[in-house]
Symmetry: C2
Subunit: 275 residues, 2 copies
């Protein structure tokens, strides 16, 4: 099943869908939807009984728009780690974003005061039920599903100090969506192609089978530290091919179009607007 | 004025006070209180008209318990930076915590799976009004006030990777309070003693006049990145004297009592409980 938040006149609505299209539900967004008891049965009933509609890419908002916690993992693609001559890490490298950092899958990304804007295509894991100090199996059971994100980074801010947060947390700069594919329908460990283009030029082309810490590993690890709740997010890191890794970095500029796609989920298309 | 959240039967209540005691208000907590229009006038009226009550230290909860953003600044005490031979930084080093990381000013701190538990006495800045891309003056005007925090840190987790977050974000391990002193009554830049003891032994003794980035600097800086709202927090860093800096670190153990005090505000008293 696919789960999304759709922008409608005067607000947003939760929606569920499949390959044939979408059905709007009563809830204001997908986060409210999945927090409700028995949501999956209601969603399945709605999908059986109602006519699907097509939706414009611009209609999709942040799928679950109010995470209390957004964790991001760095250095998590084995092939990329090895090609840069580093050792495969024993523990995930974690940093945070905020709900305000997120923006919709087709939104413009408005930035200011940065000269080193970079892309990072990432698989995002969406938490579907409360989980604390969980083992891998419990963690896997708490995953609602997966979506696409791009951890757009201000490298000049990120590298001002040892801690990356300030280059990763500008408001409305991390596109995510267009929808969540539930975990029963997708297995990132089996291998999903993840790719990023800038103005149509391929810049990243990786595969989620290369994740050192997979979705269940990360949910379990983070849950040792803090209780995760429905809507919380973990971004799983990016494969090789970012501007920062180039001898002569090609930073993102005003007007650039960034696409971010994961096989079996969908695609983000975001235009950069630099003030 | 002092602003607090008080634990009462069945929940919590906002309270305002002064040196003579406390008056409970109708709002469920201080965050709800300060989000309301004209709260300060209502609070002043309540303080004029009603009899103060004394409150037990254990009655105080996290003053503003639902920050959407908790920023922390590292490496921010000039005297301590210089004594360790480092240069005074050009930019603040920032990392995040979550609302769930906070705990009350007299609560036990329950930890697990750490062998390197450390203290970090810190001045906390509480945001009182929405602020985005603000200069120093606008930032100063958005500060509700100041409280005491201790950025209790799991150094073994903190040092697993380059990013500190995972050693700083265990649930209910950062005590904060006991109340907020409003900004009109306190000037950390003029110098407030900040001290930490463990089982009565002094371990930290600094002064907020040594802050490289003061409260207005930090609110202004963070507001370039993200919009801050009432209840959001910035912890301003810790002076010298943490266990991590000792040749033979004295890590916190089960049963240890940590006190954290800032002149003109108050004191945290937290017992460590290690599972």
């Amino acid at each position: 099943m696919r789960v999304a938040t759709i922008r409608v006149a005067g607000g947003t609505r939760a929606a569920v869908g499949d390959a044939e299209g979408w059905v709007l539900l009563d809830e204001a967004d997908a986060q409210e939807l999945v927090a409700g008891e028995g949501w999956r049965e209601r969603a399945e009933t709605a999908l059986r009984g109602r006519t699907r509609q097509e939706l414009d890419p611009g209609a999709f908002g942040v799928p679950l728009p109010r995470p209390a916690k957004v964790f991001c993992c760095g250095l998590n693609y084995r092939d990329h780690i090895l090609e840069t001559g580093r050792a495969v890490p024993e523990h995930p490298t974690l940093f945070a974003k905020f709900a305000d950092t997120l923006t919709g899958p087709a939104d413009e990304i408005r930035v200011h005061d940065t000269a080193q804007l970079d892309w990072e295509a990432e698989l995002a894991v969406v938490v579907g039920s409360e989980v604390h100090r969980a083992d891998r199996d419990e963690a896997a059971a708490a995953i609602l599903g997966y979506t696409v994100a791009n951890d757009i980074s201000m490298r000049d801010w990120q590298q001002r100090t040892l801690q990356w947060l300030q280059g990763k947390a500008f408001d409305a700069t991390t596109p995510i969506g267009p929808f969540v594919v539930t975990a029963d329908e997708l297995d990132p460990k089996a291998g999903l192609r993840i790719a990023c283009t800038v103005n149509g030029e391929p810049v990243q082309d990786g595969n989620t089978r290369e994740l050192v810490f997979d979705a269940a590993d990360l949910v379990s690890y983070v849950s040792q530290i803090t209780r995760l709740r429905p809507g919380d997010l973990i971004l799983t890191g990016t494969p090789g091919g970012v501007a920062l890794g180039m001898a002569d970095p090609r930073w993102l500029q005003d007007g650039d179009l960034v696409t971010t796609a994961i096989e079996g989920i969908g695609e983000l298309r975001n235009r950069i607007r630099s003030a």
